[in-house]
């Protein structure tokens, strides 16, 4: 799987976003996504294998965080995408309040 395939899957992007500037435990990540543990487990394994998340091991617990350096130019692309989505949302909310 190439780098682009890793990040084009929507759930993996959402996991990356959730651990973009803080670490979350595997359980926290599972609790945040309405997909099954098999899917979360698979997405985390793909992200780990690609090196796009770092894992901090504390006993049996696992804490994940995005490795933006390893993502390289993809990191900026993802941030730009999330910003654009937020801008669109803000614009939509503004348009809605103007309409009232």
């Amino acid at each position: 799987m190439d780098a682009l395939q890793v990040v084009t899957e929507p759930h993996r992007r959402e996991i990356l976003r959730a651990v973009w500037d803080r670490e979350l435990s595997a359980g926290d990540i599972a609790a945040r996504f309405p997909v099954t543990f098999g899917a979360v487990s698979q997405h985390l394994a793909v992200l780990r294998t690609a090196g796009f998340v770092t894992v901090r091991r504390d006993g049996t617990r696992r804490f994940y965080r995005a490795d933006r350096e390893r993502l390289g130019p993809l990191a900026q692309a993802l941030e730009a995408m999330w910003r654009a989505t937020l801008d669109e949302l803000a614009a939509a909310v503004e348009a809605e309040s103007d309409r009232r």
Binding site: A26, F33, V35, T36, F37, A39, V40, L44, A45, T49
Partner: protein, 159 residues
Amino acid sequence: MSRSPLVPQGPPDRGDDAPALAVERRVAAPPSTVYAYLTDSVRWARWQGASAEIDAVPGGRFRMRMGNGMLAEGRFVELVPDTRVVFTWGWNGHPTVPPGSSIVEIDLASEGDGTVIRLVHHGLPPDDIPIHETGWRHYLPRLATIAEGGDPGVDPGPG
């Protein structure tokens, strides 16, 4: 009576000191009722997944499809009526937990008028243990609910 080996076949042997995931749950139902939910396709899907294909004989196929399409696959290894179910486990397309790469042992112990279910999942890579533990902690209560005559509802997935 000779005790069967812990890992008779299937998954890679990661050694006895490899960490295992263990989850226990008490159920107010006899072992025979719980066993029925572990050995029948339609009954299995009442507590885990959207559908299941259970061929509960040694070497028989285990397939369970989650609502989002994820497919868990393995084979039955050992079945002792009302007492013990062992099968291999993995996920189709999963880079580190492929089908049959780990092993799930479920022991049913009669206690009073109920059952203690003990599930041990061996052979998972250490990084994959926490998330599978989250999964089984979500599913054993659902198994308990259905075995006790309740309705756990459609599986929403853990969390």
